[in-house]
Structure formats: structure tokens, C-alpha cells
Symmetry: C2
Subunit: 465 residues, 2 copies
């Protein structure tokens, strides 16, 4: 007893450690030392003692040569969980060292959701090879899983699920769970099914504990269950889990039969990915950008910069139309950045809010005009303020009240336009079943640039020349 | 049996429904009908049958008058869980109708984490009033919780936690859980503590099931536990849960005593909030923007637009410095948007990637130069491509090879600068312990604008006049 608690006080995972998780500097040092001194036993012990997620993190942060040496040394002892936790940036490298046979061993040890996650990105030749190397029963399950669309509930779920009939007692259910043998730690809920294997209720493990052994399951089961269609999009599954704070939920096929269950840990990554995806899409970078090789990154990013170049050249064309005016009043050229930037930035604020509101289902179709109304009201206030403020500043700077007035008018109209278009563009894109996070920003920026230049230079040409 | 399954097939929550969650159109209709016909009993039944999260959602989407009427009608029957699930946009309104006494009743019914969440945003006068209305024991617990900093593990945790000594048997633990009476459904793990109440191990409920009743807990407990210091930042707690796929974890105070536990459902919202926060901060909108009143939104957004106006005026100042050159070659003015936009956009791509990598701990201090190196390499490729492409296009459009060449050079240097500054600026801000999501974007955009205009107009003045 006493021993255990004094051990705890020196525990590097405890309160006094700086890094709460991941491969600590300490762990890295130990591994590098063991590698250089060729102490394979130390490595094997570490593999057993450290959490799989930390070993996977270690593999990611090691330098390329060290990583290679480490993997070659431990390849036959690498736990399946470590392989399943690997970061995308090092997956291919590790897969190559392990080979198909090594991967097949790992696939056999994992729950179906993690096994699927491992093999789904391989090319079909490698997939077939691995599937041939796993037992027939498992193979059929994995092939079924691969049949579901990417990003569907079917890919997210594990097929391991405990189903019991409603006429069983608590005692029978407990013996059944105990006899299943390999009960995973991710078992939180058992499902009550009818003879056709349709889920009719669920019972949490804590509920099982609370009732006498002879209680009939149908008396204590909760019938308020959330069924997830196997083809459902994973983003919707994420929202469902968040909304009801679910720890797990049963997945059903088209005929209503239970085919698996999704647990909160699968969904946590989806929730983070989806919020992050919007951020990355709005800035036009790929999600895995940080780990991609230079050429891939350059290619991905350049595609979007070409779109921006084209729309900017369109804006240049608008300016060139007013060549004569600029020739007469050069100060118009100074103010071009102001004429477009404020409208563009305020429009991007609107787009960001609307895109997230659409993604989180806070903005529904019938709220459209309420949202537009609010944004236009906001823009009237912001527009008036900036017209006054920027107009006065520019009048004072260039000693030209007329120019200040024209800029003020241009800003005012452009900010209102930005609010109106910034709300409607994402909603329209969303209604076409496209993702507004990708294209709403650039489309809006193009309109605010062109509108901003055209109205500012147009008004100047009308009134100042 | 048969009845249940045929019921299921008509279940609106099942596979055939369109909305997987939230207040369905059907539910809204029922409530509006009951309100107009004054059928309070129908409302009370709905409150019992529907999930708290859906009732909370219903309250949000109802029109203001209907919401008021609904709340007045059901105020004494509104379950505490519904109040705890309320969206921020309607909280104040509901709190006003319920009054302090109504809130105190709800606070008594909730777990400490949810109760804290309810009262933490109230002003201190209201807080005191509610605390006076709850029993002394509960009051002490809540006051302790309010003592922890906002966004700390202490605010996130619930103080309800099952602790058992290591020398107990599985049977004793099960009886203890059963006798605790009000075992919440969010019990997934029990913690083994030493006499000083320091956690030394954890046992999942499924592990308890798997072992005979006379097994000693110390033989089956897992000692690989993650302790969360009570003052830890909630964002770090989120990463910890994600990294280890935890369902719950014990929270300890400075002396190592267990003071509560955090469960996955508290953390799911944190994970989503934090990823969303970065998105919102980068676009300079507040997180709750969508639900804020017009004046608050206008005020929040205008603050950032002023910064943008100022930096844009700085760019205008740079252009005005080249007045003479623009007077001679008006075409320079046409190309101003191109000279700044490509550098600015490519820089924002870099900033977004780096900000997220910092937030998710993928970019550590020692990776700094590796990251800068990669970004500069990418920018050399992108820069060369756009110099060639945009330069040729402009030469052809304006029939002026010299101008095309100058634009090409300007673009090339600005894109490389954007990569360099786009990586270093967020890293430096992060090292000052500030949040790069807020200021890195505008600072970078200012530098790319000014640098873009200065180098383009400067080179033109040197070589074309």
C-alpha cells in the first residue's frame, strides 16, 4: 500500500510533469540510448509499459534514421494498438517495414473499426493480400466494412456488440458478458434486441449493477435509444453524439437490424476533424498539410492561389477601366486598398459565422431571412461608423473633402453588400449540397473587391472630374 | 415483444427520419398546438418523454412570444437537465422567468459540473442568492468549484466519484456501488485510492464484470492512470482525452488527493469549442456571434475592422510615397491588388497551418526551423510558378514585358516573405504565451501588403522610369 503511493509521487505522468501526454523527452532519451547500445530488451519492456498512443507519438517524432532502426528492431513486437494509433505522416513508412504479413497480424488483433481504419487507405492489391492472410470469418466482416462508403457510420462502427433478448434476467446478461471472454474495455452499454435482431432498448453497465440478479431486462431497459443508419454521414453522427452526450449508440442496416455500434472515442476524432476541416478549407489548405511533402503541399496550395490570381486580375481589369480618372487624380490609387479591404474583411466575418452556423445546424432554412436581416442591420451600424471614420481621416490626410466623401460612400455600400452577400452566398451553396467552407470565401471576396473598386472609382469619376 | 418492434418501425427517431436529432418539426407543431389550445397536460407529457437536449433545442427555436408562453406554462415542471442544456442565446431569458428559486431547485438536481456551468456566468449577487437556497453540503461543494479558474479542469469535473480501497474484493465494490443509491449513468470507471485518498489504480465496470466476486481489486486494477491536476487548462484536458481515448479520468489537487473526475461528455464540447475558437478568432468574430444581439455583434466586429483600416491606411501611405511613378505609369495602379493579394493569401495558408499545428501540439519548439525550412521550400516553388504565370499574363494583357517582369519579381519575393513571416510570427506569438489565432493573421497581412506594394512600386521606379 505504502509502496504504491510513494511510487505515485515519482510518477512522471503525475501533477508535476509538464507534458500531460505524448512521447515525453524522457521516453525519447531512453529509446535513443537503448537503440545506440543495442539493448533490445529495454525497448521491448518500454513497448509493454508505455501507452500505445505514446509509442505511436514517439515513432512520429523520431528522426528518420532512428525511426527506421527502432522499427526494424521491434517489428515483431509492435502491438497492434500502436500501429492503429500511428499518425498519417509515418503510416506508409511503417507499413513498408512491417510488410503485408506484419499488418495482417495487427489487423487480426484489432476491433473491426480500427482494423478498417488501418487498411482502408491501402491500394486494393495490398488490401487483398492482407485480407487473404486473415481468417475467413474476420475477412468477411472486414470486406463488409469496406463496402460502406468512406465517412459513413458503417466505417466508424465496430461490429463487436453485445445483444441480449428482453426476457433474460440481469444475472443471465452478466453471465453472458462474462462468458463472451474477450470483452473489450469499450463496452459501456448492452443492447436488447427482438427476434429479428432489431434493437428495442439499451442498458448501461451501471444500470445492470443497480438491479437484483433476477430482474427481467425488459423492466430496466431504456427504450429512448438513438438508432444510427449504417449509411449516415459521420459528421451527422458526431452531432448526434454531442447533442445527446452519448457514450455509444447502435448502428442499424436498412431493414432495421443491428449491425454494430459506435462509441464516443471514434466520434471524438470526427468532431475535432470536422471543426478543423472548416478552418482548413476556409484558408484553402489541406487538413494533413503540416505533414505532407513539399511538392504535395505546393501543388495543393497553388491550385487555390490560381483562383485568387484570376479573381484579382478581374479586379485589376475593373481598375483599368477607370484609367483616365486615375491619371487625373493619382490619390485614387492610394485609396484602392482601403476601398476593398474593409468590405472584404467584414464580409469574411459574416461568411465565417454563417458557415459555422450551417455546419452545426444552428441556421436552418427557415432562419435564412432572419439571419440576413440581422447581418444587414449590423452592417448598417458598421458601415455608418466606418464611412464617417475613414472618410474624415482621409479628408484630413489628403486635404480633400470630396475624396473623403466618395470613399465614405463607397465603404458604406460595400460593407452592406458584404453583409447581404456574405449571408446569402454560403446559404445558397449549402442548399446546392456543396460545402460552403470551400468556395463561399473566395466568391464573396471577389464580389467585394470588384464592387468596392467599381463603386469607389465610379463615384469619383461621376462627381470629382 | 411483437408490439415493441412494430412500435419501433413507426419510431420517428429511426432510420426513416430525416433529422437525426434536435427539436423536430413534429415536436414544434405539437407544442404550438398544445399552447394555443391551452392543453398543459400534453406539454407536461412531452417534457417527460422527450430528451432534455431536444426540449432545450425547442426552447431555442421557438419564436420569442411562444417561448415566453411555453416557459411560463411549464416553469415548475421544467427538468433540471433541460435548463442545463439550454443554449447561451436563450439562457438569460429563461433564467429571468424561472427566478432564483427556480434555478436553485435545478442546481440541487444536477451533478456539480452541470450545476457550476449553470451558475458560473451569473452575476455575483444572483450566485449568492442561489447558493443560499441550496443545502449547506451542496453549497460548500459549489463554492469550492467556483473557486477554480474558468476553463480549468476544476470547473469541468464532477465531484461525484466512486473511490474504493485496494484490499476490497469485486463483490464488495459491487455492493458499494449498489448501496450508493443514486449511481449516475455517467459511471464508467471506479478509482482505487490509498488511505490518503491518492488514486493508485482504476477499474472499468466491464473489468468488474469479468472477474469472480472474491477477486481482490488490487489484482485487477490498471495502474496506468492519467491524473489531471485540478488547475490544468481545459484545452490540454481535451487533448489528453483525445490522445488516450479516455472515457473518464480522475482529477487531483496539489497534494495528489482525488477531488473529482472528468468524463468524456464534458470533454467533447471542449474539443469542439477549441477547434471552433481558432476558426472564429482567425476571422475576428466572437464564438457566440450568431446568437448575439445586433449591437454586441457590431461592436465586437468593428473593433477588428478598425485594426484592419489602420493597417490598410499604412499600405495606402506606402503607395502615396510612389505618387510620381503612378502618375507616369497609370498601369501600376491596376496591378496593386495582384501585387498584394497573392502574397497575402499564400501567407494566410501558412499561418492557418502553423496556428493549428501549434494548437494541437504537433509543432514543438525544436521543430521550428524544420517548419520554416519546409514553408520556404514550398514558397520557392509557388513563388517561381506565380512569377512566371502572372508575369506572362500581365505582359500579354498590357503589352509591356518590363511591367510583367517587375510584377513577377515582386510576387516572387513577397510569396517567400509570406512563408517566412507566416511561420515565424505565430511561433513567436505562441512563445510569448499569447494566442496566435487572434493576431498572427492581421500582423502577417499588414507585412505582406506593405512589402508587396513597396517592392513592386520600388522596382518599377528603379527600372521603368
Amino acid at each position: 500500500m505504502h509502496d504504491e503511493s510513494s511510487l505515485l509521487e515519482n510518477d512522471p505522468k503525475g501533477a508535476e510533469s509538464q507534458e500531460l501526454y505524448g512521447a515525453s523527452a524522457d521516453l525519447q532519451e531512453k529509446v535513443l540510448k537503448a537503440l545506440s547500445e543495442n539493448q533490445t530488451n529495454v525497448l521491448f519492456t518500454l513497448l509493454e509499459e508505455e501507452h500505445a498512443a505514446d509509442i505511436a507519438d514517439l515513432i512520429r517524432v523520431l528522426k528518420s534514421e532512428d525511426r527506421h532502426l527502432f522499427l526494424e528492431t521491434v517489428r515483431h513486437q509492435l502491438p497492434a494498438e500502436v500501429i492503429s494509433e500511428l499518425d498519417e505522416s509515418v503510416r506508409d513508412e511503417v507499413f513498408e517495414i512491417l510488410g503485408t504479413s506484419g499488418l495482417a497480424v495487427a489487423v487480426k488483433d484489432l476491433n473491426t473499426d480500427d482494423a478498417l481504419d488501418l487498411i482502408e487507405d491501402l491500394d486494393s492489391e495490398q488490401q487483398k493480400e492482407i485480407l487473404r492472410a486473415v481468417p475467413a470469418g474476420e475477412r468477411a466482416i472486414l470486406e463488409e466494412g469496406l463496402g460502406y462508403p468512406e465517412d459513413s457510420a458503417g466505417r466508424l462502427m465496430q461490429q463487436e456488440v453485445v445483444c441480449v433478448p428482453p426476457f433474460w434476467t440481469v444475472g443471465e446478461a452478466i453471465s453472458f458478458i462474462r462468458d463472451t471472454g474477450d470483452v473489450s474495455d469499450s463496452l459501456y452499454t448492452i443492447y436488447v434486441v427482438d427476434p429479428r435482431h432489431h434493437p428495442v432498448g439499451e442498458i448501461s453497465l451501471s444500470t445492470l449493477f443497480k438491479h437484483p440478479l433476477d430482474t427481467q431486462l425488459s423492466d430496466i431497459m431504456s427504450t429512448d435509444i438513438r438508432l444510427i443508419p449504417v449509411m449516415e454521414d459521420q459528421e451527422k453522427v458526431g452531432h448526434l453524439f454531442r447533442h445527446y452526450a452519448l457514450v455509444s449508440a447502435p448502428v442499424i442496416d436498412a431493414s432495421g437490424r443491428i449491425v454494430g455500434m459506435i462509441t464516443f472515442d471514434d466520434v471524438m476524432s470526427v468532431i475535432e476533424e470536422e471543426a478543423e476541416e472548416d478552418l482548413m478549407l476556409m484558408a484553402k489548405v489541406s487538413e494533413s498539410d503540416f505533414y505532407e511533402p513539399v511538392l504535395t503541399t505546393a501543388h495543393w496550395r497553388a491550385r487555390w492561389l490560381i483562383v485568387i490570381l484570376m479573381t484579382t486580375l478581374l479586379a485589376s481589369l475593373v481598375i483599368s477601366y477607370f484609367e483616365a480618372s486615375i491619371q487625373q487624380i493619382t490619390a485614387l490609387a492610394f485609396l484602392l486598398p482601403v476601398a476593398s479591404a474593409i468590405g472584404g474583411s467584414s464580409g469574411m466575418q459574416v461568411v465565417t459565422v454563417v458557415v459555422r452556423a450551417l455546419a452545426t445546424n444552428s441556421l436552418r432554412e427557415k432562419d435564412t431571412w432572419r439571419a440576413v436581416g440581422k447581418e444587414v442591420l449590423v452592417s448598417l451600424i458598421i458601415g455608418s461608423f466606418f464611412a464617417l471614420f475613414a472618410g474624415s481621416l482621409v479628408s484630413w490626410w489628403l486635404h480633400d473633402t470630396g475624396l473623403g466623401l466618395i470613399l465614405a460612400l463607397g465603404l458604406f455600400f460595400n460593407i452592406i453588400w458584404a453583409a447581404f452577400a456574405g449571408t446569402l452566398i454560403p446559404i445558397l451553396i449549402h442548399r446546392l449540397n456543396l460545402d460552403p467552407a470551400i468556395s463561399a470565401g473566395p466568391i464573396l471576396a471577389t464580389t467585394t473587391d470588384i464592387f468596392g473598386f467599381a463603386i469607389f472609382l465610379g463615384l469619383a469619376t461621376l462627381f470629382l472630374l
